[in-house]
């Protein structure tokens, strides 16, 4: 019961969702659309479960004054305050002057942009240490990266004689070799996703059930 019922549900729901591709009937589409809505609702509910888990994990660390307890407190406070103003704001939370909008544009947006921009420094530093044209493979990697970076900045675009050609070359690299490499990875990924999907539906893959 504890294992069989979830496996039966997995098989049934999986087959129904796969069937959508082969049965182009509006009634069947309504059923799969409904399943999709339920899935999205469940995924949203998993967020709430995640918050409960976050609180369960961090509250003991704060009360017992474990290392970094103060930062955990800041995290939970910012979480609670943002949730509160988001729910109090309701559908109007994003209108001009709303507290949630203020938090979104003055705290969330600059913090997320700066976090990601910080990576630029580390990527550049890592590249400086790792990129050495020791052989043909590494040379191609380095050359393609340098060309793309140079062609996308004003100094590269305005280089005498080669500036315009750099742009064309960068576009060719992005359109041809890069597309070939990316497509091969996409195709490999798609084959992997299909195989994993089949394993889940047939009950061969059970890790999501805690087995």
């Amino acid at each position: 019961m504890k294992r069989t019922l979830p496996l039966i549900i997995t098989f049934f729901v999986g087959i129904v969702m796969v069937g959508e591709f082969f049965i182009p009937h509006y009634g069947y589409r309504m059923l799969t659309d409904e399943f999709l809505q339920w899935g999205l609702v469940l995924a949203a509910a998993a967020y709430l479960l995640g918050i409960v888990n976050l609180i369960q994990v961090n509250i003991p660390k704060i009360t017992q004054r474990k290392p970094d307890w103060f930062y955990k407190l800041i995290m939970l406070l910012s979480l609670a305050i943002t949730l509160a103003i988001g729910f109090i704001g309701g559908q109007d939370r994003q209108v001009e002057g709303a507290a949630y909008r203020w938090v979104y544009s003055s705290v969330f947006t600059p913090l997320s942009a700066t976090m990601f921009s910080l990576l630029a420094f580390y990527i550049a530093s890592a590249a400086f240490r790792a990129f050495r044209a020791r052989n043909l493979d590494a040379g191609l990697l380095l050359g393609a990266a340098m060309l793309v970076m140079l062609a996308r900045v004003p100094i590269g675009e305005n280089l005498p004689y080669i500036g315009e050609g750099l742009g064309h070359l960068m576009n060719w690299i992005m359109d041809v070799p890069n597309t070939a490499a990316r497509r091969s990875i996409f195709i490999g990924g798609a084959l992997g996703a299909i195989a994993t999907g089949l394993r889940v539906i047939l009950g061969l893959e059970r890790s999501h059930l805690g087995d």
């Binding site: 910080l118 798609a190 805690g210």
Partner: protein, 271 residues
Amino acid sequence: MELSTATLLGAWVSIFLTICILSFLYEDNPVYKLAEHLFLGVSIAVSVVEAYYGTFKPNMLDPVGRAATAVASGSDPGWDAVSVIPLLLCGVLFLKLVPKLSWVARIPIAFLVAMFAGLKLTGEANANLMTQVAESMPNLGQLWIDHGLWDWSADGAGVISGLVLVLGLCACLLHFYFSAPHNRPLRVVSRFGVLMLMFGFGASFGYTVMGRISLAIGRAQELLGLDRSLEQNAVVHPRIATLASIVLLVGVLAVWKLRGGKPESDEATES
């Protein structure tokens, strides 16, 4: 020009938090960790609020509310009554928190995983397999008519590029084919695939770096007030805000260092 106190405060807070995060370039420090945890809390809350108003409410709570109203008034709830099922599944999902009944939560998890597995199975086959394969086969006749062998003005479009694309793709796929030993003929093709992959990875790396750098430029523009009008700058004074934030941050870091503060990695090494 007049700006509300909230807007003015928002601009200063934004600049201060940007400086706090950038302080990590010096080393891991308490101010960075404060901003990092603030970001964590706010970003989780934003995700939850958007999931609630974007999915939870319109797809479940509103239909359930309508169905309840219809039942209370004695009329037929119609299709809205079906929304009770996801409500029940959500309730069952929360049984994960009750150790004795946590196995029941496998039911909604099984539903969720199976739903996305089924969706991805056909979706991936259709979008990422069939479409990618179909798109990769160039129409050489049309390419010859439009661009000839190689058209530099059209970024190298032409028969040669079409062939490089399809042969490169086949070579890359063969490089990942491990069901046959990579002996001489396959090794040569595989080697060509590796070179194409290196080209592709290099280009993707350069593209990603430029994306990150443009974000960094955006942050620098905000710190220097280059993203606002002169009138707004006359009220917000972003450069003063940046300078004040840096001075404050340097002061805090100096005090932290004088009190024997060390980055977390150093503390971990010592212990």
